[in-house]
Assembly symmetry: D2
Homo-oligomer: 419 residues x 4
């Protein structure tokens, strides 16, 4: 079995390799192609990846290449984990919206839109090459904004599923609070990528969320950065990304007085690359844990195993709504538990949502379709409309200035922007 | 034909009377019951109303009473135009949210929620008495927030339709720009009460909105207080109330440096009552035009005439969605053109909405159902959830403080609030 | 020796009585006149005061009266501790500025100005009666805003000194950190009332502030609510009130999501009065500690003892600048260590101030003289100018609206405001 | 007579040349040295300058050089008009503070500090070279922030005077309103550079400001962008730069929705350089009028003429306070009318200032001395203290983040910033 990783030169790849090594029984990989245009970095990452597999006795071969065609040829699954513009573009996503009084974040708000504009055309082009050279391969997309990117892939007819580590992170955290194996815990997870709520936490099928909130509410609330009374009152656990909505002004005030996450991560990446360059390093560095993306290799292994092995188990993924949430169009992409088979993901039925959640989901989903439209067809007006539709922006004058600023700052990544 | 007006002591009633007098051919009224608990004010308003009818030779009798039962008995239609708490409560609606950095307005945001909390129980109680004493009468609700109040009435099984003057105001304005009789102009009006867009303006059936925007864009934009490029880019005309969304920060900045609208209106009302007390006054004073609500008597006369006369013409009203907007629940109340017959209002089919509009509509409609829930069942948690769901608030900490402030300030009107 | 307390019906008086009882050797009081127009409350407070003195074996007689003339007659010192408008007016001071995006506080910003407007004329009138009936008495003013009130008294030729508990609070806190008797600790305290910095902390004459910051910096920073790096960088300790300047936006965000201090204190006062009504209560209740004003009785006793006993020791008080800070007018009132004799307070010389402090002091002192002018001569323009001059406001449009709001909300206390 | 212009390659130089040509009777220049490191731009500017002089028949020779030594050698006056970092750095000054919710401006606030940090060391180095090669020359500084730069020059012992076009702009505008020759109008101008008020406007020695405000108040207010009631209430005319203080939030809101001034000017400069390259262009282009700096050549000519000609007339300049404003240190630099002789500038006496002005002046002057300290000695702590002292910032957390952002963005211009 061959896997290809587009963006394989990411400092994050060793997390993935670590998962492949640990979970080799689930996924009998024989070849991993790391594809990346940055040859130097790719070499360092491939090197440490090979040493990690060797140390664990894993037989898979690691191929490093800048050629997408070569890398994906013969692969059964292709993982997309790229970042167009790198941490520099992310830094713009995280700081520029602050100029207009808006939250700076790389997957939501104006920063998320900028990332979508940069990313969608690149991903679609890559997917086209996958279609040519590995027509039966599944595309598993971790590339943010996952919801919009997945919808772009599906609209273009690709065999794609979007994946995020929020759900698996909650599963592991809750299991740890409960003192049980993660496998016994499943989630009543619902929403859009980076806009989800856990409405139930099942331990061996029984909903223990009320107990979890009663016993670990403070801890859960602290980890998410929202007041504990919110959890108690609603009886649900919103994801960390809801903080950008439910505590918007607090986040803006924090961002006004702190370095950006991109700056932190860039510093971490430099350190990681130095470690990877050390021939003695053959395990995942501790530091990688702070880089974000915990448990994502587990999620990826499980998803690919079920897709290729037609397992029919339930996993939280990003896929077509297809009537699951009746207030959204069928073609919208949602993030929910779905049965994973060789035919793809089929969402489980969802109990009706409280208006407190459905209203925001509908609003953000509407934004996402405008954002996708802007990413595919370009044009300042489409960008401005998407910003006007986003609940974290929603104002005409600010949308106008943000459009100008974002297009100027991202011009190098947007061929349709005139200099 | 007998009409009853609940809240008939409003300084606004002479506007209604003026319409009844001018449009007597459309609506052959023989008795108008003005119902109001404020005897003194009611007497002044009834007095000028009688003089106005007399001057125009209208035969209708005006009865002034504080008894709802007496007033509605035998009426074919009952108009609701009340304001629980008067301009003092409105002043709180308009200023208190500013303490938390939010826009202060009496029909949307935190102020609109406060008004809904005060108003819905009173309206439901009044409607119950209408049901007992005038079981066949139509209730026409002008009482804000019209969308929430109308849904409350419909949910309780009343024969109710909600009415607002935004649509008729646009029709008259556009007709004036076009230099034609208003009757030749109809609107592609869609949304929720106080959250609507004109997507088309039909002159004798042809859409002339592009022409209107090309020729009168500046003027229309100025009257609404939004930049003209918004109108040009979108090709639609949002109502004035969208300004609270699309220009939120600008409105907050203005409100921070200006007296509240309630204070202005209270001053106007004092002046109007002085005029009404003058036995020589037998026409609608000029000043009333600044009081808000232009053309509302025309809209009321037309609606009642069609309901009672089974006319089957098309008017813009607030009524059940019933599948008209597929992304909203059937039981939601929307504001759209509908065919008006003796059976009530039946919405015309609506072309699919751009996500820029549907997202916001879905979000505000979700808020409205939470607001109604809070108004009917009470409880600080329900209030806080409704505030958290409102796109102009949406933050947990602010929702919490606003809940405390609003409940304290409105305690006299909310029996379920403990002192 | 007779003392009179204007505002003696305050729930805070038992704190004062407790000090008189404990420090009887310093101040051989034979009569305490509690003067207050609120007879009922005064009776409760006088009752518990008498029981407290009795319990401690203190011989002083407590007289409760609503007559200023009677109360002050024969007194050697008169304490002013009144609050015009009570907690209700304070609540307005603390919440109304938030409507305009400004911090709500009762001694600085727009709230502080409102309090000055209400208070200065009342204090001047009371002082006039002291002059008539106790011409040799010292007036010790605790009434906020102490700086402005003291200047008003001095400008009118009264024998007045302003007192605040910030300095003594720091002295006690630092002594406790150092593990020594407070008497061995003195302060390099400088600034205006509620705008002060400790530039040195002397233990037996040696400056131990660097050591204090090194060892207890976190604790001190936490108690003041400012980041510890500020203390480390500057090497000084700003008072808690500097937080309204140095962390303005954070305070506004907090105030937007929390009940006002006035509401909290009003609840406490109700509880305290209930306790005072209990004949079994003959000691200062614990709860009083949370009411604010710790150590203020010690400060008062020490000041009166030195004034009446011509002791010549050094205490931190509010008195004329008289060249002490060369960048302020001589007639400004400053808060600094001063030698206290029968002739009053004579400030010690002060080392030149860093511009970081002198700039802000000069700005706020300029505001104070405009505020005093507005309080004495009235007029919306003077109020607006004072607001425009305040560094926490400083904007014309906001100053205008705040003027309107404050005058309207305080009209009952400002005879020159036309309704 | 030889003049040298440091920064002579500025697109603004033709404005200066135009003045020299028109006012040749006042200033008999024989040589103008344009000094600039940007050879290409300098050549274009020198070319058009030569053509302008030729066209007007002015005999002066124009020398273009990148050598400061060569350029200043033999000059009687040296004009400093440089911009370290160009429009790109200015763009950062104008946009970066917005990230922290602060106004973005290149001469005040955080942007003004950044400019001071970049500029002061460069100017001091240049002045040193003037001292060596033209020891008797006067340095006339137009380089912003003029107040801080002038103080830096004076502290280092240079023969320097600071000049700004605000005062002469007002003189011309008022003269035009009055319909008289500018020479008959003089100003009661007082404050710091870019923080001034006109307290009187003398026409032939009589104060006509009340009349000007009565007759042209609206017009004057509009041109400054502040409400007319401010002018009427205060009876003074604040400069345009006071708008950043008196209307701070409005300016921030505008800046959030508009392109930066730097972007506009950069576009203009490109256009101007194209014009200068055209050999047919031999007059000052109209467009230059929009570039800012009107009448500055008149001011420069007048100042140099009086300095070199020992005229003893009165001009508004930036020079040492020396007791003029008693609340500022003697060594502060202020902007006031001064008698100009061969010995330099001697401020006229100034009537006492209202606290509304003196408080803000004292605060900003204190900031300026901290800013100068930071510019000369470097260090993030000094930068942070200066920001904390600035009335438009004043908050610890924001000062911290602004320090980080500004130092990072300006690192190329600040040798003491570690990468």
């Amino acid at each position: 079995m061959k896997l290809a990783v587009v963006g394989g030169g990411s400092t994050y790849t060793p997390e993935l390799i670590d998962g492949f090594a640990r979970l080799r029984d689930d996924l009998p990989i024989t070849e991993i192609a790391l594809i990346d245009p940055h040859a130097e970095r790719l070499e360092l990452v491939a090197g440490v990846s090979r040493r990690m597999l060797a140390r664990s006795g894993h037989p898979a071969k690691v191929v490093a290449t800048s050629s997408v065609e070569e890398g994906v040829a013969g692969a059964q699954a292709v993982l997309f984990q790229l970042r167009v513009g790198g941490q520099a573009a992310r830094n713009v996503d995280e700081t520029l919206p602050l100029q207009c009084g808006c939250v700076g974040q790389e997957t939501t708000g104006a920063g998320g839109l900028a990332k979508a504009l940069r990313t969608v055309p690149v991903v679609l082009d890559l997917a086209e090459r996958v279609r040519e050279h590995a027509p039966d391969a599944w595309i598993v997309d971790f590339t943010n904004p996952v919801g919009i990117v997945t919808r772009a892939l599906l609209d273009a007819g690709h065999r794609a599923i979007g994946l995020c580590n929020v759900a698996i992170g909650f599963q592991r955290t809750f299991a740890s609070h409960l003192g049980v194996e993660p496998g016994r815990v499943s989630l009543g997870h619902v929403g859009l990528n980076h806009l989800t709520w856990e409405r139930a936490v099942y331990l061996d099928g029984e909903d223990v969320l009320p107990r979890l909130l009663a016993e670990h509410g403070e801890e859960i609330a602290d980890s998410i950065g929202l007041p504990v009374e919110l959890f108690a009152r609603l009886g649900v656990v919103p994801s960390y990304y809801l903080r950008y909505f439910y505590a918007h002004d607090i986040v803006v005030a924090e961002q006004r007085t702190k370095p950006s996450r991109a700056d932190e991560v860039a510093a971490m990446e430099a350190q990681l690359l130095e470690m990877y360059a050390d021939p003695a390093v053959d395990t995942k560095p501790e530091l990688l844990g702070k880089r974000g993306g915990a448990f994502y290799s587990e999620a990826a292994v499980a998803l690919i195993a079920s897709l290729l092995g037609d397992r029919g188990d339930v996993q939280v993924v990003n896929t077509r709504n297809a009537g699951t949430l009746p207030f959204l169009p069928d073609e919208a992409v949602i993030e929910v538990p779905a049965t994973i088979t060789a035919a793809g993901a089929a969402p489980l039925p969802i109990d009706p949502l409280d208006p407190l959640y459905s209203g925001l989901i509908a609003n953000v989903s509407a934004y996402e379709s405008l954002a996708l439209d802007a990413a595919i067809h370009g044009g300042a007006d489409r960008v401005r409309n998407a910003l006007l539709a986003h609940p974290l922006i929603g104002q005409e004058a600010i949308a106008g200035e943000l459009t100008d600023l974002l297009l100027e700052a991202n011009a190098a990544h947007l061929p349709w922007v005139k200099p």
